[in-house]
């Protein structure tokens, strides 16, 4: 494990599997009556969220508390460049209060790298712009692995806004390292330049893209994409790329349905699909806590014994 978790680009399949394997231990803890370990006792973790987030922030906070860390939270909006304290000073000040680890969500690409470079703290990237969201991807992989033990050749179809999605980037980097067979599907306006060099299949035709897939991972479509002119309307997106049961019928018989949330039911996913028996959307959320516990354990400056 590296010093920080900034992104999955550059990770090998084995390094990822190691994290997933360790996460199992923490996942079991979550099913106990007493869901708490003393592992990070004395360690202080700051959750810095410069963008609105509900589940990622709660998931990190729960993971930290279940490891007995001391937790402080900071939320601020930096949607535009606001004059005032800059990012480096904010983090430095929190560091001066002797915080050991920093979880950061920020709208700027490279913000986690920036903190890691300039500030003395262990950094966990909880999303930097459209760049990476490594813990989300790791919890996706953990969830996939509960159903499909081997990633090699596994058919994964990712549907959604590849231009703006950090979840897609982290998923692509990790799934490629794990040897999965990845197909990206999105409207052509929401595919980034150079996507053909990512080493994944790209297909705007959702029927072709989803056919035979074992996993479909459906991304949230942001309303802003319509106002910015990338797509004509959410309605049209829903008609063409929204995942409904007819499309799910084209998948391999053995399949799971994923979504990182929050869902726009009726836009990128229909009610039937979201609540289908094959949907693992809620297990993703549960597993997220376990995977984040594993990450915190691996990166903590002084790791205690997880078995007490």
């Amino acid at each position: 494990m590296k010093e920080h978790l900034l992104g999955l680009e550059g990770y090998t399949g084995d390094e990822i599997l190691e994290i997933l394997e360790l996460s199992k231990t923490f996942r079991q803890v979550l099913d106990r009556d007493v869901k708490r370990l003393p592992t990070l006792k004395g360690i202080t973790v700051a959750n810095l969220f410069f963008e609105p987030s509900t589940r990622t922030r709660m998931s990190f906070e729960l993971a930290e508390k279940r490891l007995s860390a001391d937790v402080i939270n900071f939320s601020a909006s930096t949607s535009s460049v606001k004059k005032g304290e800059n990012l480096r000073d904010t983090v430095d000040n929190i560091g001066a209060m002797k915080v050991d680890m920093t979880v950061i969500r920020h709208g700027a690409v490279g913000s986690a790298q920036f903190i890691a470079k300039h500030c003395k703290t262990v950094v966990i990237n909880a999303g930097d712009g459209a760049h990476e969201h490594p813990t989300q991807a790791l919890l996706d992989f953990y969830t996939i692995r509960e159903h499909f033990p081997d990633f090699k050749g596994l058919k994964v179809c990712i549907v959604g806004d590849a231009l703006h999605s950090r979840v897609i980037r982290s998923n692509v980097f990790g799934l490629k390292a794990l040897g999965a067979d990845v197909t990206l599907c999105a409207p052509s306006t929401l595919l980034p330049m150079g996507v053909e060099s990512w080493g994944v299949k790209v297909n705007c035709d959702i029927e072709e893209a989803i056919r035979g897939a074992n996993v479909v991972n459906i991304m949230r479509l942001q309303l802003e994409r319509q106002t910015a002119g990338y797509i004509p309307s959410l309605r049209e997106y829903g008609i063409v790329w929204g995942i409904n049961s007819e499309l799910v019928d084209l998948m391999d018989k053995d399949h799971i349905i994923m979504h990182p949330g929050p869902m726009n039911r009726g836009v990128e996913i229909t009610q039937d699909v979201a609540d289908a028996p094959e949907s693992v959307i809620l297990p993703q959320v549960t597993n997220g806590v376990a995977v984040r516990m594993a990450i915190l354990y691996l990166l903590a400056p002084r790791s205690g014994d997880i078995h007490e």
Partner: protein
């Protein structure tokens, strides 16, 4: 020294493209002018500068700088910027109009000349094309031309309104000064931070496509052709832009073009490799490898006429932040000659004569100032360049008030070591 107004620079290899000179000759200076080159040796009654083993060239001319005065004297002043220039072998600089307030009146032009009396080199103001750089109404171009503006530019912002640009082109014909155009289609570029390509796609960075530049250049060379007007294209960065300029020249359009040192040496991959260091953020952005190759081709075949710095100082407190938040621009006055020599001349991509053409002779012609040559009777603006001098780039060690260089820590071979401006020694590292 018997007489401080008389010098001889002896034993150096003199490079003067204007007179097709490349040989070891002595250069004589009297009363602020080049009195002769070569001829009978006379080392009496004058200061003798030993340039043996060095290159002696006309002082370099940088037609694209930002000196931040008035308004942002914390980032740079005419005094500090010009000191940085002479330390880089540059003896004439043209400063862009996007100060606070902008240089959009004759009073502004006179202010620059007034402040330039205390400068270390010649400073020539480029005045605004539009009032307040707003792109809406023409600034008082005629009045500013009479006050001594050497060119017109809204640099930092494009002229989106083609009708306004049309009028500026036509109007500027009356006083034969170049319009120096910042080419950018804002509808393709606003809110975007790096070049759109494979690197930006992987990084998830909001990115500017090359066509935001090349498309506007195409519009403007066609407009210049239609109006038989003269234009200069600032900081060409994309391969398509080089192609457009080349074709325009073939069609006989009166167009010149410049490229910056950083676009000739760095790419979007360096942005990623730096960990999104804001010292790699500038506008236009660092492009891809094939764009860099096209720029090199352009300087070699004449599509690109000049190399400039686009020296854009920003204090550390403005640059030390997330990439998306940081202002555009990097400094370059003190590193341009060394970088071009070490990275383009030494590997044989261009020869030293071409370097002097691109960095002195040609830019002086573009803004029509008396510089860029060692001809008899010319201003004694001279740079001595030591081709063997090894040094390491350090932003902190520079004379500029800012240190936002993407070349921090680069180890370079070759450096300007002595600079004369109008017959006065402005920088001397030679005798050390």
């Amino acid at each position: 020294m018997e007489n401080e107004t008389k010098f001889v620079i002896k034993g150096g290899r003199v490079i003067d493209p204007a007179n097709d000179i490349d040989e070891v000759l002595d250069v004589y200076v009297e009363d602020g002018m080049i009195s002769r080159i070569g001829g009978k040796k006379n080392y009496q009654d004058r200061a003798v500068i030993d340039a043996t083993g060095k290159l002696v060239m006309p002082g370099l001319v940088d037609i694209h700088t930002h000196l931040r005065e008035p308004g942002r004297e914390d980032a740079e002043t005419i005094q500090t910027g010009s000191l940085s220039a002479v330390r880089g072998g540059i003896t004439s600089i043209c400063c862009m109009a996007n100060t606070t307030p902008p240089v959009d009146s004759s009073a502004g032009v006179r202010f620059i000349y007034d402040r330039a009396r205390y400068a270390h080199c010649w400073v020539y103001p480029v005045a605004a094309i539009s009032k307040g750089l707003k792109g809406e109404e023409l600034a008082e171009m005629f009045d500013m031309a009479m006050a001594g503006a050497v060119g017109f530019s809204d640099d930092g912002r494009p002229l989106s309104n083609a009708q306004l640009l049309r009028n500026a082109m036509t109007y500027a014909k009356m006083f034969e000064l170049p319009l120096m155009l910042h080419e950018e289609d804002l509808t393709l570029s606003s809110g975007r931070h790096m070049h759109e390509g494979v690197a930006s796609g992987l990084a998830g960075m909001q990115a500017v496509p090359s066509v935001a530049e090349s498309g506007m250049i195409a519009r403007d060379v066609l407009l210049a052709e239609f109006l038989e007007a003269r234009i200069h294209i600032c900081h060409v960065s994309a391969k398509e832009s080089v192609d457009v300029v080349r074709v325009a020249k073939e069609r006989g359009v009166d167009v010149t073009a410049e490229a910056t040192v950083h676009h000739l040496l760095l790419t979007d991959e360096d942005v990623v490799a730096s960990g999104f260091d804001s010292n790699f953020k500038m506008n236009p952005p660092l492009r891809a490898k094939d764009d860099l190759a096209a720029l090199i081709e352009g300087i070699n075949d004449g599509a690109i006429d000049a190399i400039v710095t686009d020296h854009a100082p920003h204090p550390p407190e403005d640059k030390d932040c997330e990439f998306a938040v940081a202002p555009f621009g990097v400094i370059g006055l003190e590193t341009s000659a060394s970088l071009v020599y070490d990275k383009l001349v030494r590997p044989g991509i261009i020869d030293v004569k071409k370097m002097v053409e691109l960095m002195s002779y040609n830019p002086a012609r573009i803004v029509d100032i008396s510089a860029g040559t060692l001809s008899q009777g010319a201003n004694a603006d001279i740079a001595i360049f030591d081709p063997e001098h090894k040094w390491t780039v350090s932003g902190r060690a520079m004379a500029s008030k800012s240190r936002n260089t993407p070349f921090e820590g680069w180890e370079l071979t070759g450096k300007p070591v002595w600079t004369m401006v109008g017959g006065e020694v402005a920088f001397d590292e030679l005798s050390r």
